[in-house]
Structures are given as structure tokens and as C-alpha cells.
Subunit: 312 residues, 2 copies
């Protein structure tokens, strides 16, 4: 096994996340060549022109041959298809590279493997953007963010350590959890919020007053991710169905509570509800907003009982 920063890494699929990881590895002092495979040349050519990758091959077997590490950076269903195919393809080549992926759900992609491959380390960096494609790649995308790995008892420890070290080298903190816990937690923290943004955007698009024309910073943020990649989010919805429906139901239940409090004019309970949310949100600001912790700290709690306040 080559030392961590001289290994040959090959990305299978080159987009925003995989391209950002390639850039981040280079910025971290990575010395090995970074290759890529993809189904079509244009994004790979762009990646080459932007210096994100050093070479590419449109033939999958040629692309993976000789790699120390394969990182799958494709939408979820394509990730599953690649994982289903890789073990037999690698066996034919007589190679056993470390394999990891970046997909937003873990149970479904793991289930796609037709045979066990102990050097596969399922992964998911909690980072993204409403922009897509390798041209939107950013070397700092993973700084301060979490990378979740979901190995099981059969996962090769050297592979796990290598993938852990890779994420740490680009500024992420690594969390290990089960695939089931990951999928349930991410359904609530990421997948359901995307569905909320979609539902809100569609409700506004259907409104004859065209309320989106009158949106401010609140609506900007609450709909930003409604511009996310439709294929990617279709795949998430299809492959993390059970956890996602569970998480959406929890939000629906809270909306029903709020509607009831509003309809019955329960001012005191509404204020208490909103105050709890303010505290919960502020308590997590360092996680959610790693680049803005000091700004969060500027808030003076003594301001909160003032009479003159926010008017949006």
C-alpha cells in the first residue's frame, strides 16, 4: 500500500463533491496522481482543464486499473450500480483497492453490492451546494464539516483508517456510525429539509400572488436547496424512502401543532415554542455554521427583551 499522500486515487464520476474532494486533496499537499472515470467526456475534460484531475479514462476497467483508492462520486442510484459491478471487475483485474463512496444514504448503496468487498468503506461527507458539476467544485467545501463513515464488522481496518485519514486531511471531522443510524439521522437533518424546500417552492409557484417576488433573506435560505440537482434528490427519495417518510411525518406533526396553536391564538405557547427553537438552533450553530461561530457569539442575550426588534 502506498503512503497516504502518494496513493493513486481515481474518482468514478466527477461532479461538485468529488471535484471538491480532488481539489481539497491537492491543496492538502497530495502528491499522487488523481484520475477519473465518467460516462461522458465533457465534465472530465472540464475537470482536466480546471486542474481538478490529472487524467481520465472513459473505459471503466482501464480507469480503475492500478488505483490504490477508488472514490465513487455519482448520484445514489449510479453509485449503487457501480458498487454492484466493482468486486467482480476488480477480481478480474486481480486488484484490491480501497473503495469508498460519497452518497447521501448508506443502507441502500451497501445493499447493492452483489458480493462482500471488505475494503469498501461506505462514506458520506456532510457538505454540498445547490450548484452542481465539477465547475462548482471548491477546495474548502469540507472544512469544519462532518464526514460520516458506516463500516461494519467485516470492514478492513486498514481501509477504514485510510479513508478516515483522508477526510481529516481535508479538514473534516470523522464520525463512525451504523448505516441504519446514518440513514435515519440524515433523513431528518438533510433529506427531509430538502423535501420541505421543494414543497414550499411548489406551493409558492402555485400561488396566484406570486409571493416569491416578495421574498427576502428568509425565503432565500428556505428555498436555496430547492435548486439542487433533481436526479440526485430523486435518487435520495427513492433509496431512503422509509426513513425519509418517517422524518417528514415528524415535521408534519409539528406543523399540525403549530397550526392549532395559531388557530386558537395561543400566544404564550407560541412564544415558548419559538423560544425553544431559538435555543436549539443557537446551540447547534457551531456545527451548522462552522465559518460563522464568532458572528453567532456577537449576539447579546440582553438584547432579547428589547421592544424594538426584527421586522421581517
Amino acid at each position: 500500500m502506498a503512503p497516504i499522500n502518494t496513493a493513486r486515487v481515481v474518482f468514478l464520476g466527477l461532479g461538485l463533491i468529488s471535484g471538491s474532494l480532488a481539489l481539497a486533496l491537492k491543496r492538502a499537499g497530495w502528491m499522487g496522481r488523481i484520475g477519473a472515470w465518467g460516462p461522458r467526456a465533457p465534465s472530465l475534460e472540464r475537470g482536466l482543464a480546471l486542474g481538478v484531475i490529472d487524467d481520465y479514462d472513459l473505459d471503466l476497467s482501464r480507469a480503475v486499473a492500478g488505483a490504490d483508492v477508488l472514490i465513487i462520486g455519482a448520484p445514489p442510484i449510479s453509485t449503487g450500480e457501480l458498487l454492484a459491478d466493482l468486486p467482480s471487475r476488480l477480481r478480474a483485474l486481480g486488484e484490491t483497492p480501497i473503495v469508498t463512496d460519497l452518497a447521501s444514504m448508506k443502507g441502500w448503496v451497501i445493499d447493492q453490492m452483489a458480493e462482500s468487498y471488505p475494503r469498501f468503506v461506505p462514506g458520506h461527507p456532510i457538505a454540498g451546494s445547490e450548484n452542481s458539476g465539477v465547475t462548482a467544485a471548491r477546495a474548502d467545501l469540507f472544512e469544519g464539516r462532518e464526514a460520516i463513515l458506516t463500516p461494519d464488522a467485516g470492514t478492513d481496518l486498514e481501509a477504514l483508517n485510510w479513508v478516515t485519514a483522508m477526510w481529516e486531511s481535508v479538514g473534516s471531522r470523522v464520525t463512525i456510525m451504523s448505516a441504519a443510524d446514518h440513514d435515519a439521522a440524515l433523513a431528518a437533518s438533510s433529506h427531509s429539509p430538502h423535501m420541505l424546500a421543494y414543497a414550499l417552492t411548489m406551493a409558492l409557484a402555485d400561488d396566484g400572488l406570486n409571493p416569491m417576488r416578495h421574498g427576502g433573506g428568509a425565503l432565500r435560505d428556505m428555498t436555496r436547496i430547492a435548486a439542487s440537482d433533481p436526479v440526485m434528490w430523486r435518487d435520495v427519495a427513492l433509496t431512503n424512502k422509509k426513513s425519509l417518510i418517517h422524518a417528514l411525518t415528524a415535521v408534519e406533526d409539528q406543523l399540525a401543532v403549530l397550526k392549532e396553536l395559531i388557530a386558537s391564538g395561543e400566544g404564550e405557547q407560541l412564544e415558548r415554542y419559538f423560544s425553544i427553537c431559538r435555543t436549539v438552533r443557537r446551540d447547534h450553530d457551531a456545527v451548522l455554521n462552522p465559518f460563522n461561530v464568532s458572528a453567532g457569539k456577537q449576539l447579546s442575550e440582553s438584547e432579547e427583551t428589547d421592544k424594538g426588534r426584527d421586522a421581517e
Copy 2:
């Protein structure tokens, strides 16, 4: 009437929005003195120390005496209380200053006026922050943002023109509409999104896996406004009840549609739904994100059919 930029302006209530307007007026070359009234001294003292205001008075009648313009910058219910009181108080002083407000709903605050006051111009700048208080005030808060005014047939035209010019001087574009249309549009574009952020935050807080610990940029944005001022949002929920419940129901209906598509695995329809949302959101990016139009334009549409894409 004094020329627009030498008028004496007095803010009734000094917080994030009113403080930002004071700073914006000064930056725009405002030459008159800017005063303030508030129920308690600390935030007024802070405003004075920060140079947001030039003087203040804790006595309401003394504070309003001699003002050319009164700008009410209090939470909605306090705004209504001040508006109910002002006409008789001003009559006792023998003065007829222009009066405007900044509250997020217009029908309810207008209804609080015990008698008609033609020089009252109901207003609402579509700008805000999850931070509160005068220390969070920013001179650029209104740049590129909309300011909605809701005069009626009895509104004094000079007062309307003056308030319009004031908002334009701080970089806003002014829209005139009826109070009813404003309240319906803002229920959809601002008030209901705040309730969604609250419901999402509470659902996450109630989840044993504590999913908020695993949040990224999506959750950061989808919960940011859940840290907003609880009193302000209690007041909005209580005073724009009917429109808000209507807007929330529209989002709930869309969530039900999405849940059904997810449950039945309708990939094609999900992708179409998400694609419509992406288009709608991008079409409104210049409104929602006035400082980021060029970044939005960097998006290459040709990227969208690439295989390697967003992984959060």
C-alpha cells in the same frame, strides 16, 4: 415640511430593523437629527453609543414633539398599540408628522388605529435577520431589497411620496399594494417559511438521534430563521392568522403530494417536481439573493446532465 434629508426623524422602538434604517439614512447622507423613543433605556443607550441615533427620550410625548417623521420599529402588537395611541397624542401636541411603520403584517396594524390619520403610510421592508437588537443593525440591510407600502384612498400623497423617497434613498425598491394582498403574499413568502423552520427545528430537537448534530449547509439554512425573535414571530402568528393558516395549508398539501410520490416510488414524477422547483428558484434568484446574482450566473446549464453530482 422640511426637505427630505433634513427632516427630524424619530424612531419609536429601536431594534435591528429600525436601527439599520437609521444607519442607512446616515450613510445615504441624511443631515437631520435622528431621535428615538423606547420603553427602556438600555437599547437606546446602546444605539446612542453606536452612533445609530443622535438622541432619545423615554417619554413618548416629548420624544414625538417636533418630529417631521415618526417611524415605528416595534414588534407587531406593540406597533398596533402605538398606532392606536398616536393620533390623539399628536392632536394634543397640534402636530401632524408623517407616520410609518415596519411591521410584517399590515391589515391588523392598520385596524388598530382608533381614528383615521391620513399621514400614516403603512410600510414593510422585506429585510431582516435572525439576530435581534440595535447592536445587530447594519447600514446595508435594505440594499436591493423590496419595501412594500400599503396606502389606501385616504392616504396623504405627500406622505406617501416622502416615505417612498426615504426607502429609495437607502437602496430599496418600493412596491405599492393593498394591505390584504400584502398580508396574503407575505404569509406565503415569509410567515409560513418561518413556521416551517420552527416545525423542522422542533422535530429535530425531539429526535433521539439528535440529527441536528449531523447538519450541513442545507440544515444551516433551513433552520437559520428558527433563531428569530420569539416575541416578534408570536405577534406575526397572532395577527396574520387567517393568511398564515392558508399558506401553511398550501405547503402541507404539497408535502402530502411529495410523500405520496415517495411512498409509491414515482421516480419520474419526483424528478419532474424537483426540476420545476429548480427552475422556479433560479428564476427568482435575483430577487431573493440580490448580492449574489453573478454567482448564480456561473452555473453552467450543460453541467446538469453530468453523472457525477452533489452528494449532500
